[in-house]
Every structure is written in structure tokens, then in C-alpha cells.
């Protein structure tokens, strides 16, 4: 069974590509949570009243799987408060009042990178995490025996509707990406690089081909992929570029691949050249409620309100504020959220755009099963979940689900299928915990 064409044709709605990318001036304050990554929260290293500049370290990585946090504006630390992110675990957040000057910290200087250890240390220092949305610390991904890495895969698929910030990166930061590829080749010995891009982004493909042709140290291949959501899913990208399959519970490195988002790659290149850590982010601001949808380069920690105001404000009351795309993005409270490291888009969706029909009875049409890119049977999983049948959930391999949401999107009865998959995984985890405590 060919998996290639599984998935869904979503509306593209990539309106923001038509607008120029603009840079936002320093906002009045920025709020920088100590956990904008997967792993242990960073530990604040500034006190209230401290003077900070752009690029001053304000949070120190706590352990290996963690990441440094840097000030994105110059000014004073106003307070250190508690912030409740969408995963429900409160963390400290440093609030900095900007002096509007955006003075750069004099300590910012390009790192010396000549070998593998220095490169990984530099990336660890830079505060760079997976910028496609996941936020996994990048240095951890690269810190494996170099001979295990056969392919470096650059994810430029950007299959979510609305979101165009990765495309903007490929169009405007090819130089940064090139520098990063050369450094990774030089220090880690990566010989094969592939860039996967959906074929609805012709200009990005052209820009990347131009960049690829200027590299002679290693082979860089640009792969045009069909624009079928979820083309950018890590496992699908690996399969559609290398033909290799990563099974459930395994990592890309187990099949010799390291996957980096194109914006993450550009951030590495920029850091190696300038030494400026990750303090700003290109964010797609879109959705029917936004007056002027556009891509904005914005200091990390900028509040939603400042961001929307910069884009002409909201013309109607949004129904949902979403971090990321509408297929996998997370809704956040609009008044208490800010641009974070891994935020690639902020959508203010109107009630009409985000309208979901009322769920009705399953008609067993099998559309979910025939749509799932992984060949799972969401309707059967939902049945097993309702019966609390954990054996059936395991047999149906619900843990393989990447939560792309295709099943829920296509369901004519609008059953909450991917939502039930998530709950099913939780159910299995809890059962495992119970069994572990018994023995």
C-alpha cells in the first residue's frame, strides 16, 4: 500500500507570503519564560533591577536537555513572575522593561568553532532549539557519534495552512543556512544533505537549489514533495526523502538521520557568524481577525497584544488564538501569552474560520482509516478507548500516532478522533505506571 498519497489536501491560506516581512520595534516589555523548550526549565541568573542588553544571558540551561535564555531587548528586569504554559506546569518568567534602545551586549561575539566539541558547545550556548514548533534542544540532537549521522535532512515542508515563516526563512536567509550546512559538514563530517520542500513553494525551492549549487564540500539535494498534509511530519519527511522508516518509539538517528527545521538551521548559521544568540523570531501573524496579516521579525517574549497591535490590531473578536498552524497548533489565552522560541505562527482565528461542526454518530465510512498517513484505524481505536480496552489499544498501535489530526479533519461525523488517540496514549501510560508501582 503506497503511503505516499495518504494524508489530506488542506486549504493553503498562505496569504502572508504576498506581504513583505517587517521588523517590529522594541516592545514596551517582554516576558521570557524559563521553559520555551522540551526539557528542564532554565534557571534565572538575573535579579529584579538588573540592567540587561540584547543578548545578555538571563537563564542558564539546567542540565543536558535544557537551553539558555537570553534577553531580547535592552532595559531592566522589572519582575520575575510565574507563568503557566499550555502544558500546565508553572515556570518562572523574567519580565524585562525595554529602554527602547536595543543596545547589544558587548559580550556578544562569534564563537570559535573548529571541531565537533566546539560546534556542539556553541550550539548549546546559543539557546537554539527546534524552531519548527517542538522546541527540542538542537545540541542534544547533534550530540551523537558522528559516524551515525548519514543524512542531514532539512525540513522546509511547511505543510500547515497559513504558516509561511519557514518559507520566508528559505527565501531570505539562504546564506545563514549555507553557513550552517558548511559548519555541520566541517565539524560533524555530514556528507549528505537533503532539503524537503512541498511543491507549492516554487520560489523557496528555487532559492534552495541556488544555495545548494554553491556548496561543493558535500552533496545538497533539494527534494520537491507533494503538498499533502502532513508532509512535514518528521517520519514522513524521512520516508519521502530517504525511503527509510522510523518505527514507533525510535528516533531519526536510528536510521542515520538528523532532521532540522530550516529556520533552526538558519539560526545556527547566524549564530556562528555573529555570536548573537536566539533572541528574535520570524512569526507568521494571520487569521481572519488580524487586520494586516504578515510575517513579523519580533523579539522573543513580545506579548500577543503588542504583536497584534503591530499588525494593525484585531478587527473582530477572535474565537481562538493559536500558536502554530490550525492542524496541530495549541490554543493559548490571548492575554497571557507571548512569542516564544518555537513559535512559528500566531493565528487569531474568527469563529467562522475555526468553526467545527457538531459531532454526530460514526457512520463507519472508513475515511479516517484510509486517510491516516501511518495506516492506523482511528475509529477502531476510539471504540477500544470507550471500552477502556488497553489490550486492543496496544494491538492497534495507538502509540505510533503522530497526532497530525488528519482523521479529525476528514471525519464527516466530526468525531474527536485524534483527540481520543491522545487520551488513549495517556491511558496506556497510566496503566504502565500502575503496573510498575505494583511490581
Amino acid at each position: 500500500m503506497a503511503l505516499y498519497l495518504r494524508g489530506i489536501r488542506t486549504p493553503h491560506r498562505k496569504n502572508t507570503l504576498k506581504q513583505p516581512v517587517v521588523r517590529m520595534e522594541a516592545p514596551g516589555t517582554v516576558t521570557l519564560p524559563m521553559a520555551m523548550h522540551i526539557g528542564a526549565p532554565a534557571i534565572p541568573v538575573v535579579k529584579v533591577g538588573d540592567t540587561v542588553k540584547v543578548g545578555t544571558k538571563i537563564g542558564e540551561a539546567n542540565g543536558r536537555i535544557s537551553s539558555n535564555i537570553y534577553s531580547s531587548v535592552s532595559g531592566n528586569v522589572k519582575r520575575i513572575e510565574e507563568y503557566l504554559p499550555h502544558n500546565g506546569t508553572a515556570v518562572a518568567a523574567v519580565v524585562i522593561e525595554s529602554d527602547g534602545e536595543m543596545t547589544v551586549d558587548p559580550a556578544v561575539c562569534p564563537p570559535t568553532v573548529n571541531n565537533r566539541e566546539e560546534l556542539i558547545a556553541a550550539i548549546r550556548e546559543s539557546g537554539i532549539v527546534g524552531l519548527g514548533g517542538a522546541g527540542f534542544p538542537t545540541h542534544v540532537k547533534l550530540d551523537v557519534e558522528p559516524e551515525r549521522i548519514e543524512y542531514l535532512l532539512i525540513n522546509g515542508a511547511e505543510c500547515e495552512p497559513y504558516v509561511t515563516s519557514d518559507t520566508v526563512t528559505m527565501l531570505t536567509r539562504a546564506e545563514d543556512m549555507r553557513d550552517a550546512i558548511l559548519a555541520l559538514n566541517r565539524c560533524l563530517g555530514i556528507g549528505k544533505v537533503m532539503i524537503g520542500i512541498e511543491n507549492n513553494k516554487k520560489t523557496a525551492i528555487a532559492a534552495m537549489q541556488k544555495m545548494a549549487s554553491s556548496i561543493t564540500a558535500c552533496t545538497v539535494e533539494v527534494k520537491s514533495l507533494p503538498s499533502v498534509y502532513p508532509q512535514g511530519g518528521e517520519k514522513l519527511l524521512i520516508y519521502h526523502t530517504t525511503g527509510r522508516k522510523v518505527s514507533a518509539g525510535k528516533l531519526p538517528i536510528d536510521v542515520g538521520c538528523v532532521v532540522l527545521n530550516c529556520t533552526t538551521l538558519a539560526a545556527i548559521g547566524a549564530y556562528l557568524r555573529t555570536g548573537m544568540p536566539l533572541v528574535e523570531k520570524c512569526v507568521t501573524v494571520d487569521g481572519g481577525a488580524v487586520k494586516n496579516p504578515q510575517n513579523v521579525i519580533v523579539p522573543i517574549g513580545t506579548s500577543m497584544k503588542d504583536l497584534f497591535d503591530f499588525c494593525g490590531g484585531l478587527q473582530v473578536q477572535p474565537d481562538k488564538i493559536v500558536y502554530g498552524g490550525p492542524m496541530m497548533g495549541v490554543t493559548v489565552p490571548g492575554d497571557a501569552s507571548m512569542v516564544q522560541k518555537a513559535t512559528n505562527a500566531v493565528l487569531a482565528l474568527t469563529a467562522k474560520e475555526a468553526k467545527l461542526p457538531k459531532p454526530t454518530a460514526c457512520i463507519r465510512c472508513g475515511t479516517c482509516t484510509n486517510t491516516c498517513p501511518f495506516g492506523l484505524a482511528p475509529a477502531a481505536i476510539a471504540g477500544a478507548y470507550e471500552r477502556k480496552d488497553t489490550e486492543a489499544l496496544k494491538a492497534r498501535l495507538v502509540d505510533a500516532c503522530m497526532e497530525c489530526g488528519c482523521c479529525s479533519f476528514v471525519c464527516p461525523a466530526n468525531r474527536p478522533l485524534v483527540q481520543i488517540n491522545k487520551l488513549s496514549k495517556q491511558m496506556l501510560k497510566e496503566e504502565q505506571k500502575k503496573e510498575a508501582s505494583k511490581s
Binding site: 488542506t10 518505527s247 492506523l376 484505524a377 471525519c411
Partner: protein, 306 residues
């Protein structure tokens, strides 16, 4: 900005497809066959068809009312059942029998098993088989107003010509005779992605190939046998019912193959001249097993089929 925005788990958009939309498409796809029936057998034949639709919808509404369930008639599935049942009846059917048939389809086969998506067999098919056993009128097929009386093509000595079979000007149930109208509906359902090609093509293909063997490789006769009777309406509209047919591609192929084989076995070696309804009914019951045998392999795993 009002701070009150919704906090919900993704996805935040939907394809817009709905059960009612799918059922509406099926109704539209059945319009040509309904119109053809009215032209071939006379306008009065619309009476049993309309009555079936109205009673099916009415019985479902009544059942929901009495059992205090959410009203489901807006999903149009009861209307589809009614229309399919009506088109599968002879024009001469007494009207009261239409009401009893609808009652059986909706209340016994569908609602008592839990409503849409829960029935084990296709309600329209089950009701037709029930009526076949219960009412002798079912055995007396209708004939076009201007045709001489005779048996249905499958029981007749002489097969009508291919053109007659294609246009439907011969004896049979109201909606089953006009192959052209049914194929038109099939194309519509395929274009609208309501059904896939698997079941109709394999079902009709199997009947054709089997008939080739039976007729000693006479292609014209085999084609006639495939177009005559209820094969087309059964393969396109009844066997493709979501709830009672397999969801996987190979499952659909198996389903079509089984239905085609059984149709021919009953037709050529059984006591009934026609076997489509029995064949589909039997395959409906086999569907859960077929689904189990043909599960998709989960990406990058050996499991997922158990």
C-alpha cells in the same frame, strides 16, 4: 481584544464534509434512476417510491421521539434508505406493503440496533428480502407500460437487446432497469469521492466473468446478464453502504468479489432468478471478518493487523 478565547485541542479546522452532505450526494446520484423509473414505468410509480421515503423518515423521527433520542432525520440517511427501498420494489407493489417494508428497514434493522452506523446489514436490502419472503406481489415484476407482459429478463427465454438493457425499457424493479442512469449516478458518486471504484467494479466484473463461463464465452450474453436485474443498482448503491461494507481497499475488493460470486451462484444454480439482495446481505454479515483480514499495516511496524 476580549481575553476570552477558546482553549481547545487541535485540529482547529475541518474539511466541511458531513454525513448529511454525503447522504445528499447519494440522493442526487439516485435522481437519474428515479427519473428513468418514472419514464419507463409511468409517473404513478413515483407513488411507492415517495411513500417509502416518507415512511422511512417518519418512522425514524417517531422512534427518536418515543425513545427520547436526538432527532437524526436531518442526516438524510433515512431518506436514502427509503429511496433505495422504493427503487428496489416493483411498480405494482401495494402501497401498504411499502409502509410495512419501511417499518422493517428503519425500526427493526436500523434503530433497534442503535441507529446510523450501528446496523449489521443494509436496511434497504434487508427490508427487500423481508418483503420478498412475506409478500407475493414482490415476485410479480413491473413491466413498461407499452411492453407485452412476460417474465423479467433473467427468467425469460429471450434476453432483451443490449440497447434495451442499457436504457432500461424492460421488466424489473422501478430503479434497477436503466443501466445508463445508474452508471451516471456511479460517476457522480466517484467524482464526489463518496464511494471508491473497488466494490462496484469488482462486483460487476465478477458477475461478468462468471457469466462468460456460464454462457460459453459469449461476451454479449455475459454483458446482458450483468446489466439485467439488480446487479448495477446493487453494486453501485447498496453494496457500497459505508456501515455494512469493509473500510479497507482490499476489503472492498474481497466484498465485491464475494457479492459477485454469490449473485451468480444463486442466479444460475439456485431457486431464485435473482440473487443480488441475498448476496449483499450475506457479505454484510461477513464484513467484520473481512475488515479483520484486510487491516492496513501500520507504518514502519509489523503489527497493527491483529
Amino acid at each position: 481584544m476580549n481575553a476570552l478565547t477558546k482553549i481547545m485541542v487541535s485540529p482547529h479546522i475541518h474539511s466541511g464534509r458531513s454525513t448529511a452532505g454525503i447522504m445528499r450526494d447519494v440522493l442526487i446520484a439516485l435522481l437519474p434512476a428515479t427519473a428513468a423509473g418514472a419514464v419507463i414505468f409511468g409517473w404513478r410509480t413515483l407513488l411507492p417510491v415517495v411513500l417509502c421515503v416518507l415512511s422511512c423518515v417518519g418512522f425514524e423521527a417517531l422512534f427518536n421521539l418515543i425513545t427520547k433520542r436526538d432527532q437524526t432525520i436531518k442526516d438524510l440517511s433515512a431518506a436514502v434508505t427509503g429511496l433505495l427501498l422504493g427503487l428496489n420494489l416493483p411498480a405494482s407493489i401495494p402501497l401498504w406493503q411499502c409502509v410495512i417494508g419501511s417499518l422493517f428497514a428503519i425500526i427493526v434493522v436500523k434503530c433497534l440496533f442503535g441507529g446510523i452506523g450501528r446496523n449489521l446489514v443494509n436496511p434497504a436490502i434487508a427490508a427487500r428480502v423481508f418483503m420478498l419472503v412475506a409478500f407475493p406481489a414482490m415476485a410479480a415484476p413491473a413491466f413498461p407500460a407499452d411492453a407485452a407482459t412476460g417474465a423479467t429478463p433473467l427468467a425469460a427465454e429471450q434476453m432483451p437487446s443490449l440497447l434495451t438493457l442499457f436504457l432500461g425499457n424492460y421488466g424489473g424493479s422501478i430503479g434497477e432497469t436503466c443501466t445508463a442512469a445508474l452508471l451516471l449516478g456511479c460517476v457522480y458518486l466517484l467524482v464526489r469521492r463518496v464511494i471508491t471504484w473497488h466494490i462496484p467494479v469488482v462486483f460487476m466484473g465478477t458477475v461478468f466473468v462468471f457469466s462468460l463461463f456460464v454462457t460459453g464465452f459469449d461476451a454479449v450474453s455475459a454483458l446482458s446478464l450483468t446489466m439485467a436485474g439488480g446487479v448495477c443498482i446493487g453494486a453501485i448503491f447498496m453494496a457500497t453502504d459505508y456501515t455494512t461494507s469493509p473500510d479497507t481497499a482490499w476489503g472492498k475488493v474481497l466484498f465485491g468479489l464475494g457479492a459477485g460470486l454469490l449473485t451468480c451462484l444463486i442466479r444460475y444454480y439456485g431457486v431464485y432468478p435473482e440473487g443480488v439482495s441475498f448476496a449483499i446481505l450475506f457479505m454484510n454479515i461477513l464484513t467484520p471478518y473481512i475488515e479483520q483480514w484486510t487491516r492496513y499495516r501500520v507504518f514502519a511496524s509489523e503489527g497493527g493487523r491483529v
